[in-house]
């Protein structure tokens, strides 16, 4: 019951949400068979390239692998703060 109250007041996540979030992260590595280090490098490189064109929120930056039928897709979620104005 205390659990429930804590949850209603937003102090503690339902444990299944914790499970889902942990699974999401662990499956990124499993599915790509990338080491966490390689993934970190990939993220940093992506960040570098995209930052040349726009201001991005690197806190909300996420890289995910998802399965679509038989193929694997790399899905990046990159919150944009503002697009840089390139005066050509």
């Amino acid at each position: 019951m205390f659990d429930l109250i804590a949850r209603v007041f937003g102090r503690e996540d339902a444990s299944k949400d914790v499970a889902k979030e942990r699974l999401r992260l662990v499956l990124v590595h499993d599915r790509a068979s990338l080491s966490p280090q390689t993934l970190e490098n990939l993220k940093n490189d992506l960040l570098k390239v995209i930052s040349e064109y726009m201001d991005i929120d690197d806190q909300g930056f996420r890289v995910d692998f998802s399965r679509h039928d038989d193929a694997m897709a790399l899905v990046a979620n990159i919150p944009i703060r503002k697009v840089k104005n390139h005066s050509l």
Binding site: D3, L4, R7, A14, S15, K16, D17, A19, K20, R22, L23, R24, V26, L27, D30, R31, S66, R67, H68, D69, D70
Partner: protein, 265 residues
């Protein structure tokens, strides 16, 4: 020409053998000709779950090695004369059989049976490879837990790499009361993560333990909720469109009424 279906999971102890026994008995009850293969060599179990452990003479390895004829190794079920079991060898290990041998054996069995169900061992090594080699289709069993879902995901990846038929999912041991509290992943959560088709959901149910004690698959017990779930899965396997059973934690008004009226819930 029958269909060969492997029941697999990656993680151990999530209900592969229970599922194989129940779907086998369910299909046989529906009049299909069914053969079950225990591919868990060295850790034979399907025989005891089916209550057939006293009838074993020859096993899978005997057949593959040509030491026994298939028809002499197949054990006829006590309840259905259209249901057979090919037991695993207990004193050998997985290397006693190769994927090619399994493929040949299953091709031969598909000529005499409508369904050949293969109970896979846990893991992703040779035992798993043997079990999936001859299968047309795979059912992945997973419980709503992090480690089980993770291993199921790995298995799904391996099956898809082999270009088998797209596997479908059986969620086992779900507990409605925990789902309700947010303490167990729900059906939707698991499908979202694993991105495969759902074949059925089996509740966590004491009647599974009781039926395993007796060697009588729960699917044959009309009072068992897990049995009802397996009856539904059986019908879906045969191509019927049956809606997924509502999760029920046994505390609802309907159940209280059923209890008062003396039904077992």
């Amino acid at each position: 020409m029958g269909e060969a279906i492997v029941i697999t999971s990656g993680k151990g102890g999530v209900g592969k053998t229970t599922t194989t026994a129940n779907l086998g008995a369910g299909l046989a009850q529906a009049g299909e000709r069914v053969a079950l293969i225990d591919a868990d060599i060295g850790l034979r179990n399907l025989d005891v779950v089916m209550g057939l452990e006293n009838r074993i003479v020859y096993d899978l390895v005997d057949v593959v090695e040509g030491f026994a004829k298939l028809k002499h190794a197949l054990i006829k079920d006590k309840r259905f004369e259209n249901l057979y079991l090919l037991p695993a060898a207990q004193t050998r290990d997985k290397t006693a059989v190769s994927p090619e041998q399994m493929r040949d054996l299953i091709a031969q069995m598909k000529e005499d049976f409508d369904y050949v169900l293969i109970d896979s061992p846990a893991g992703i090594e040779q035992g798993f490879k043997n079990a999936v080699a001859g299968a047309d289709k795979a059912l992945v069993v997973a419980t709503p837990e992090v480690s089980s879902v993770r291993d199921a995901d790995r298995i799904i990846g391996l099956l898809e790499a082999q270009e088998k038929h797209k596997p479908s999912l059986i969620i086992n041991r779900i507990r409605a009361s925990m789902v309700k509290k947010g303490d167990m992943m729900d059906i939707d959560d698991m499908i979202e993560i694993l991105a495969i088709e759902l074949l059925g959901v089996v509740p966590d149910d004491e009647s599974i333990v009781v039926s395993t004690n007796r060697g009588e698959p729960a699917v044959l017990n009309s009072q068992s909720r897990a049995g009802e779930a397996y009856r539904n899965i059986t019908r879906r396997l045969r191509g019927e469109n049956v809606p997924i059973m509502k999760l029920d934690d046994g505390t609802g008004l309907f159940n209280k009424l059923r209890k008062m009226m003396g039904f077992k819930v």
